[in-house]
Structure formats: C-alpha cells, structure tokens
C-alpha cells in the first residue's frame, strides 16, 4: 500500500512539475502580471493604502459592468495595433521602437480627410488607408537605413519618434488647425467617424477594425508564404537564406506592415475617439504613450496576435479601472496603473521567470524525495518485522 501511494504521489508531483514547465509562455505572462500587481500592492501599502480594496475597485471598474467593459475595450483598441507593430518586427528579428512616431503620423494623416468629402463608408476607409500609408512610409527610412548601412533600428526609430512628434505638432498648429479652436486640429467629419457602439461610452467600431487587423496579421504570419518568410528570417536568417528567402526584402516588408498598423492605431485614436475626434496639439494627451504601452502589451501577449488581443484587453482594463480606483475612500491615484505596467514589463524581461524561483522547484523535488525516502524506510521496516 505504501509503495503505491508513494508512487502516486511522486507521479502527481512530477505531473505538476511538467505542467509548470510545459505551459511556459502563458504562465510566464501570468506570473509577470502577478508580480507586477504584487509590486503595486507593496507600494500602495507603504503609502498607507489598502491594496486589496484598491484592486477590487480596479477590477470592478474595468470588468465590473458593461460601462467598464466598454471602457476597457476602448482603451485596449489602439494598444492592439501598436503592439502588433512591435511584434511583427520582432518576429522578423528587429526592434521597432517607432510605433509612437508612426502612430502619430498616421493620426495626423487621418485628420487630413477633413479636407474633402466622400460618401460615408468610403470616407472612413480612405482615412484608414491614408493613415496606414503614412505610418508605413514613416517606417521605411529606418528600415532602409538598417538594410543599407546597418544602422541600429533602435536608434533610428527613436529619432523618428521625436521628429514625428514635432512634425505632427507643427501640422496641428499650422496646417490642419481648427480655425475656431486653435488648440486642436480639425475634427473628423461625422460621416467618416467610427460610430459609437455602446451608448454613453467611448467605445467605437474601431475595435472591430483592430480585431480584424489582428486576425489578418495572424493569418498572414502563419498561413501565408509571406508571413512564413518573415518568421523564418527572424528566427534563423542563415537557414532562411538557404531556404531561398530574401532576408532584406522580408525585413523591409515587416517594417512596412508594422508601420501600417501603427498608422491604423493613430487613425483609431482620432477617427474612433469621441467626443472631439481630433488631436489636441499641445501635449497630444490622447496619443502620447500609446506606442510605448503597445510594446508592453506585445511582450505580455508573447508577440502573438491572439495573446496581444488578450493582453490589450488586460492593459486597457488597467487603464479603465484605474479611473475607478481613484474614487472613494481608498483613493489610489490612477498613475499606479502605469507603475504596475512597468513592473509587469520588468518582470517579463527576465526569461524563465519560473526557473528564477529555484526554491519552488527545489522544494517540490525535495518534498518528493523526502516522501519517497520515508516510504522506503517504512517499507524496509515493515519487511523486517
């Protein structure tokens, strides 16, 4: 009897161990999420807040009611797109930090459709095309610089972020400025806007666009030769070359695609953001940081479109719920959300986070070993009697 249950026990523990290491990617993201929330909780506690209450408020605000869900999804929509930017390029083996700049250019480009009129649906589509193209064009120079002169795309995309920021400000102040209210640009004409789909919230149909793009990217990456080549070039350029893949062409393609999605993110933030459907030139509050947050989403989403959708929902929820968290008696400033986000990304940067807790692994092994020893000893003793 003792033999059997000992065997069963160790089998159980072995199964747990296998699951823990086998589910690695998803588990890592979850673990990083937990670590981030933990760090946030610690900071809140130090400052005299009640973290448990705060988190409850947070999650209630994010996913507690339909308003919360709508807000979370709305916040997550642009993040899906900028996350895709980062992920597509990462899969091609490169770091595109320029989502911020490409997104801004796309946003301003979409404002330009206020200059002419077209029938309703077409107007929207044209706006999207213009935004995507603008984003793609903005990403092509860093790509070419990398291919031809080996310029680090990290540096070049960051530079373009800043050039884009100033360019967009200039356009917003001088070119596409609203003649009535100079602090903002022209608004997107009503016919071209993404309709609000949940009344009373700022969730618009742009979410369908974002999800659609994510699904398209998924299909492209895993079900077309184009995507196949991108992934191969990113994982093993030598073998890829040997398999007939033109790595340089593939890299440029990935950058263009990434830039386009960032441009679409910008479009979503203008054509799909009530109430003003415009850009406020000083500070650009609606646009700022969407690119960088998108990178965080990409990482937590393991650079996979499906994961990105989930991660964007989560991060969007954090942002939306943060507003709730800062109300009431246990008011925690919503900036805590960004603290948590940063902590999550930090945790994500450590590979094999699970392995980093050797205590867990060791104690499982020790425990199993000790049980085995005890059973053995008892068996020996019983046999001797």
């Amino acid at each position: 009897m003792s033999e059997q249950s000992a065997a069963k026990q160790s089998r159980l523990l072995r199964g747990v161990h296998k699951t823990v290491t086998g589910l690695n990617p998803v588990l890592e993201s979850l673990l990083a999420g937990v670590v981030g929330l933990l760090i946030g909780a610690i900071l809140m506690y130090i400052w005299g807040f009640n973290p448990w209450q705060a988190y409850i408020a947070l999650f209630k605000g994010a996913f507690g009611d339909s308003y919360g869900w709508a807000s979370s999804i709305a916040r997550g929509t642009p993040l899906v797109l900028t996350a895709l930017t980062f992920s597509i390029c990462l899969r091609a083996g490169m770091f595109n930090i320029g989502a911020e700049g490409q997104m801004m250019i796309g946003a301003m480009a979409s404002v330009s459709i206020a200059l002419f009129t077209l029938p309703s649906g077409i107007h929207t589509i044209v706006g999207l095309l213009i935004a995507a193209s603008a984003g793609a064009i903005w990403s092509i120079v860093p790509a070419i610089l990398k291919i031809t002169r080996g310029v680090s795309e990290v540096i070049s995309t960051i530079m373009f972020n800043w050039i884009s920021r100033f360019l967009v400000i200039w356009l917003g102040v001088y070119v596409l400025v609203d003649p009535i209210r100079a602090e903002k640009t022209l608004s997107i004409p009503v016919a071209a806007r993404f309709p609000v789909i949940v009344r009373g919230t700022d969730l618009t149909a742009s979410v369908f666009m974002a999800v659609g793009v994510a699904l398209i990217i998924y299909f492209v990456l895993w079900h077309t030769t184009v995507g196949y080549e991108v992934r191969a070039a990113g994982l093993n350029p030598t073998a890829a070359r040997y398999g007939g893949i033109r790595n340089k062409r593939t890299m440029i393609l990935a950058f263009l695609l990434g830039g386009a999605t960032a441009g679409l993110a910008g479009a979503a933030l203008v054509m799909g953001l009530p109430p003003s459907y415009a850009i406020f030139s000083s500070g650009m509050p609606n646009l700022t940081n969407m690119g960088f947050d998108g990178m965080a989403v990409a990482m937590v989403g393991r650079n996979h479109p499906i994961g990105i959708l989930l991660a964007a929902l989560f991060f969007g929820g954090l942002n939306a719920g943060g507003r709730m968290m800062q109300l009431g008696s246990n008011a925690v400033p919503l900036e805590m959300v960004r603290v948590v986000m940063g902590a999550i990304v930090l945790a994500m940067s450590i590979p094999e986070l699970i392995r980093l807790f050797p205590a867990i692994k060791k104690s499982i092994e020790n425990f199993a070993g000790r049980i085995r020893d005890r059973r053995e000893r008892r068996a020996v003793k019983e046999a001797g009697e």
Binding site: T224, T225, A232, T238, A239, G243, G244, I245
Partner: protein
C-alpha cells in the same frame, strides 16, 4: 581496454616531471566516453606531439591536464600543487598556458593592450609604456615580432597568433599547449615557431603540440602521444617512431590485433556493402575543374581541385577537419564564391549561385551544422519540411496562402518514408532527436529530386541507429542512380560507404582512388600530409 604502448618514454635525468596524469577518464552526462584511462607523464625540457583524428579526445585530454576540466575518474598530479582550476586565469597563474585555435584577442586593442589585459590585478593605472618595454624585451628574447601599435584586427592571422603566444609567454608559463598552431601559418612562420619552441624547451619548459600533421611531429617533438577514440594508443620517443607507425596508430589497426574493435560494427554499417564498380560510361553529374577558394581569414582554403562525381556513385572525401572540406562544400552549395575554377552540374554552372536558387540546379545539401543551416529550430516539423520549397505550387495557394492540408499530408508521408519519430507535423523541430532532425532534412532535400546530394558530416552527433539509417539511405540513393558527394571526418564511415575516395589535406587531394587501393596505414599517412610517393600509393 588497456592502452597499448609501443614504448614507455625515457627522458634525460636532468628533467623532472612537471605534470602527471593517472588513468584520466572522462564520461559525459549523455554517456559519451571522451577519454578512457589515459596516463601520461609530462617532463620539463620536453616537446610532446599530441596526435589524433577529430573526436579522438585531444581537447578533453588537454583540458583535464591543464586543470580546467575535472576527470570522471583518475587524477592529475604535480609537484607544484593540486591541478584543479576554475578559470584559464588560474591555470595561467599556476603556469599552464594554452594557445587556442580561435584566438582570445580583443580586436580593437593593440598587442600591448592585449598582453596588458592578462596581467596582474586591476584598478592600477595601466603602465602602457612599461608594458610596451617589457613586451619589446620579450619579443627580442623569443624572436616573435609584431607591430605593437596596430589594432589586432588589422594584423595578419600569423601575427595575431604571435600575439597570443606572447600573451602566454609573458606570464612565464611552465607548460605551453598549442592547439593546431600551424594551420594558419606560412611555412616560413612555421619554421620560426618551431625555432621558438626549441628554445623554450631548452629553457626548461614543457610543450604540448596538438597536431594531425605527421611531418611536423617528426621535425620538432621529442615524444609523440597518439589518441584514438578516447584511448591513449601510443607514447613513443619521436626518433623511434616512423610515420607509418604513427599513421597506423592514428587511424587504426594497431600492431596488436585485439587492440579493440575500432572499425564500424555491423550495427553501424549500411546494409548493402557492395561497392559499385565505377561506371565510366555514365555521365559525370558534377564536374569540377581547378577550383580554388579562400577561407574566411583570407588564406587559400582549397587549391586547384578537379574531380568528377558520377551518377550512381558515392564519392567520399576523407581527411582531418580543417583541411578545406568545409570551404569546398560551401563553394559547391552557393555559400562561398571561389576565386578560380569551374563547377558544373550536367553542364550548368553552379558557382556563385545564390543559395536560394541552388536547388533549382539540382544540388541538395545536407549541411554539417544542421542547427544553423538546416533547420529553424523553433519552427514545427511541417514548417521545416517546406523550407526552401514553400513557394512550390502544391504548397502555396492563391494570395500566397499556405495549403496546410497538402503540406501536412506531404509531411506525414515524409515521416512515414523516413521513419521520423515525432509527435506529429506540428511538433517543434527542437523536440526531435538529432537523428530525426537529420532524417527530416534528408527527406526534405530528397523531395527536391536533386541531381547530386552533397552530404557534409551527415551522421555527426547521431546515435548508432540513426547513423545507420542515414548511411543506408545514402546507399539506397546511390543505387537509384543519384550522385552523392560525401564529406566526413569519420574515416570509417567514408571507407564503408564510398565507391571512390579522395583524401584531403591542406586544401588539396592527396589522392583519388578506390578505397580498396589503400590500406589504413597509407590512408593515415596521406591524412597526415605525407605525399603519395612516400606513402607508396
């Protein structure tokens, strides 16, 4: 298995022993026996030549002796103290220094800076002027001269090696180990190096010279130690050993008949062992003329190679690795552009063709490094199976959509045909064993219906069953009429499989003939650089 020694070495009485290795054995965690009960005594005032093929255990041997690798059993002793170090730096402090084949030099530093790097404790102001002076003195003493204020990366390889040696000498070592030092030197530089070694020996140092070149061993060493398949099979004073004896020891058939079954066992041999007589009437599939290519360092790697590979034969290239085999394969598979010569397949040129298109010309390549060149490890089996043929019409649909249905069918057929054991077409390639990975590559390449298959180290790292399978496969393909160019550092494999062999040494073919025309001793001599006439072939 006891190690057969021809003679125990005797040395002058004024030399003491510096290091003694007793029954050193090293078994790795996967069961490979890298070294088996090797015992050796290293004396001062002595140059030892360490001979052996690839995989004989030379690196393991020297690593254990220099204290950087703990033996599984056995020990290393020294009158100076325990020989067990945790870093090359400690070994240097003790007095053991190694000059590797791949230099550990900082490219942007000058020679002075590189040497200064390996010296005493940090956070002192580096006295570059003083370091330069003592380096200059050392250069005078040793006869090794290098420009001192040029960044290392701008120096010729021979000069770089001199800096490596100077680096080690400046630490005043007692035992100097050199790993294949002459592979990057001109004959003149080799002479200079040997003069230096001579002088160091008279100063009392011990030197181990790892090499596969028999002539070198003859010219500069006092003693020759031969390793084969992890065993120490010979330890003789140089003057008492002939090149023939050394060759025999190196490649097999020691004088003692039951010295061990080092030949391929029945489990490893392919099923159809019969050699095919070369059918001269068949067309030559691959025709190579005067092919010359440079290596990455700029030296000539292969020189004026001319040969044919016919349909229905396996043409095997044997030789110690590093003699140009890799560069030859790269030249024929689009990875390296030769500087001279021609190579055609059924009349069409294959030189300088981008690897993307090489398969269209009929060349299939089983690469020697399957992880770097053959597979995208994180990809699934199926994704790897279509690498290179993913643009084919049967796999690619409209809008460049991949027809996964067709692809998976194809992959399953491959898995059946080649007995690839895996969970399924969507198993990640890295979860496959080495043998199954190799079968996947072979299957994929064969699907391209090639005119010639270039197989480079095809059974490296595979277990016996998988290796046999691959060998069987190669013979089967030969029987179907394909041309096969086999490059392998495993001499037994080449001898078993090839219908004709060429022995490669320093970028040239020492001979091209049928394996039956040579006995092992002759092969060993040729592999060691002894010319045909002297080897009586």
């Amino acid at each position: 298995m006891t190690s057969e020694k021809l003679n125990t070495s005797t040395v002058e009485s004024n030399a003491g022993y510096f290091l003694r290795g007793e029954k050193m054995t090293k078994v790795y965690s996967d069961g490979t026996v890298a070294l088996k009960e090797a015992s050796i005594e290293i004396h001062t005032h002595e140059i030892i030549g360490l001979l052996g093929e690839n995989g004989a255990g030379k690196t393991t041997f020297t690593k254990i002796l220099s204290g950087l690798l703990p033996p599984t059993s056995g020990r290393v002793l020294s009158p100076k103290g325990p020989v067990r170090f945790s870093s090359p730096r400690e070994a240097l402090d003790f007095g053991i220094g190694m000059v590797h084949q791949h230099f550990a030099l900082v490219g942007t530093f000058t020679a002075t800076q590189n040497v200064a790097l390996s010296h005493e404790r940090p956070f002192t102001r580096v006295q570059l002027a003083r370091a330069e002076e003592s380096l200059k003195a050392l250069m005078e003493e040793s006869g090794l001269h290098v420009p001192l204020d040029v960044p290392i990366e701008k120096l010729a390889v021979g000069e770089q090696q001199r800096v490596e040696i100077l680096k080690v000498l400046s630490r005043d070592v007692d035992l100097l180990i050199l790993d294949e030092p002459t592979s990057v030197l001109t004959p003149l530089e080799v002479d200079e190096l040997f003069t230096l070694l001579d002088r160091l020996r008279s100063e009392g140092k011990s030197i181990i010279l790892i090499t596969h070149k028999l002539k070198e061993v003859q010219s500069v060493t006092d003693r020759v130690v031969v390793l084969r398949h992890g065993q120490l099979v010979g330890d003789v004073p140089t003057e008492q050993a002939t090149t023939e004896q050394l060759a025999q020891l190196m490649v097999g058939q020691a004088l003692d008949q039951d010295a061990g079954a080092v030949e391929l066992s029945d489990q490893e041999l392919p099923v159809h062992k019969e050699r095919k007589p070369v059918d001269r009437t068949a067309n030559s599939v691959l025709h190579v003329e005067s092919l010359t290519s440079r290596s990455n360092t700029g030296d000539i790697a292969i020189e004026n190679l001319s040969f044919d590979v016919f349909g229905g034969e396996i043409f095997g290239i044997a030789g110690v690795e590093g003699n140009g085999q890799t560069e030859l394969v790269e030249s024929l598979t689009g990875l390296r552009v030769p500087i001279q010569g021609s190579a055609t397949i059924n009349g069409t040129n294959i030189l300088g063709v981008d690897p993307r298109h090489i398969y269209k010309l009929g060349v299939a390549h089983i690469p020697e490094d399957r992880w770097e060149l053959g597979l995208v490890l994180p990809f699934t089996l199926a994704e790897n199976a279509i690498l290179g043929v993913h643009q084919w019409e049967e796999f690619k649909g409209p809008l460049s959509f991949l027809r996964w249905g067709k692809i998976n069918t194809h992959v399953r057929a491959l898995m059946d045909r080649f007995e690839i054991r895996a969970a399924g077409p969507s198993a990640p390639a890295k979860s496959l064993s080495g043998g199954n990975q190799q079968k996947l590559i072979v299957g994929r390449e064969l699907a391209k219906d090639p005119a010639i298959i270039v197989a480079s180290q095809p059974t490296r790292g595979l277990d016996i069953g998988a290796a046999k399978y691959i060998r069987d496969l190669l013979v089967e393909m030969r029987d179907m009429g394909r041309a096969i160019l086999l490059v392998s550092a495993d001499l037994d494999e080449v001898l078993a499989l090839a219908d004709r062999i060429a022995i490669m040494y320093e970028g040239r073919f020492m001979t091209v003939c049928s394996p039956d025309d040579l006995n092992r001793e002759q092969i060993g001599l040729l592999m060691g650089g002894v010319e045909r006439e002297e080897a009586r072939v």
